[in-house]
């Protein structure tokens, strides 16, 4: 049996009294320290957690490239419960109020903890998929991270254009037939504030195309 060429460590932090969140830090034996890749999953209601197919593919691609990578979780996704309440109910409430501030704050805290564990790196790059693309942008604004790669950003439900701050290098990847990320709206985002990469894929979920989207995202993350 082949021995994996990288190791993984589960890290947890308390984000509020009685509420902790975990993440997975993966690292090759002798990691390149030019980048730390932090991966943001999709919305929990849409199958978003650190076991998501695209998240796993980007994580594996980053480690295969010799870099350290972190898969974040959001509150409640590991246990299905946030305190005594169903996690999906809490997320539905956040969705109804379009207020995910605690999620971005959680993510910023997780990134700080990941950096402590990873040690010095030249640059942190966020890679977010679907809702994770928006969470990555918001968390970048809170952490000073300047490079964000967004896969299939849900342009119809989140104000991406408002979050493309000066000094931020954002790249968005998507296919032409993604109902959550209409290609026309994505092309409309392109310009001085961000660039786009169009992929030949079926829809929003990249089923069977995971290695391809992961390679494309990593290529942008390492630019």
């Amino acid at each position: 049996m082949n021995t994996p060429e990288w190791s993984a460590e589960k890290l947890r932090i308390d984000v509020e009294p009685g509420l902790d969140i975990g993440m997975t830090l993966g690292y090759p034996e002798f990691p390149l320290r030019d980048r730390l890749i932090v991966i943001f999953p999709p919305h929990p209601s849409l199958g978003g957690d650190s076991a998501n197919n695209v998240v796993e593919a980007v994580f594996a691609a980053a480690l295969a490239s010799g870099r350290m990578a972190v898969k974040l979780n959001y509150r409640g996704t590991e246990t299905g419960v946030i305190r005594s309440e169903s996690a999906l109910t809490v997320w539905d409430r956040m969705e109804a109020a379009t207020d995910y501030a605690v999620v971005y704050s959680d993510s910023a805290s997780l990134v700080a903890r990941a950096l402590e564990a990873a040690g010095p790196v030249d640059q942190v790059v966020f890679v977010g998929y679907s809702f994770g693309a928006y969470a990555a942008l918001e968390t970048a604004a809170r952490t000073g991270v300047r490079r964000v790669v967004g896969i299939s950003p849900p342009l119809l439900s989140h104000p991406f254009a408002d979050r493309l701050a000066p000094g931020l290098h954002a790249v968005f990847l998507s296919g032409a037939n993604d109902p959550f990320c209409p290609i026309g709206a994505l092309r409309g985002l392109a310009g001085a504030a961000c660039s786009i990469v169009e992929l030949a894929v079926d829809d929003h979920f990249y089923r069977g195309d995971e290695p391809r989207v992961a390679r494309a995202a990593l290529q942008e993350a390492l630019c």
């Binding site: 929990p44 209601s45 849409l46 199958g47 076991a51 998501n52 197919n53 299905g80 309440e85 169903s86 999906l88 109910t89 539905d92 109902p179 929003h204 979920f205 089923r207 069977g208």
Partner: protein, 125 residues
């Protein structure tokens, strides 16, 4: 001949009607269908306020979401051997209709299957 899948709907799931599927989902109301690709059979369900209110073997009722699945995969799902999300990501299931609602429903059904795994019909005495 009655299959395990039919027994699941007619006995097991029927016994869960008019009670909360899960705690904390009283706001859940929708219609969906499980359509078996391999046998051509379908089951339509109506959820109201987090409870199954109707359950029928048919393929004609309009539903907001249709889950397409083969019977062996469905048996793995209801036994909790695979999550609906993973089955979807592996293309072992598909969703038609309202994608967002379908993905949310898949997540909730996954929690239900986890809480109430169905090992198969009890052997007859």
């Amino acid at each position: 001949m009655t299959t395990n899948c039919e027994t699941y709907f007619t006995r097991f799931l029927a016994s869960q009607m008019h009670r909360d599927l899960l705690d904390g989902y009283a706001g859940l109301s929708t219609t969906f269908r499980i359509a078996f690709r391999d046998t051509g059979k379908s089951w339509s369900l109506t959820l109201e306020r987090g409870q199954i209110r109707s359950l029928a073997s048919d393929s004609s009722n309009p539903c907001r979401v249709v889950f397409l699945v083969d019977e062996p995969v469905f048996l793995d799902l209801i036994a909790g051997r695979i999550s609906p999300q993973n089955a979807f990501f592996q293309r072992r299931t598909d969703i038609q209709g309202n994608w967002v609602e379908g993905m949310k429903l898949a997540r909730i059904l996954g929690l239900f299957f986890e809480k109430h795994p169905y090992p198969g019909p009890e052997p007859e005495a």
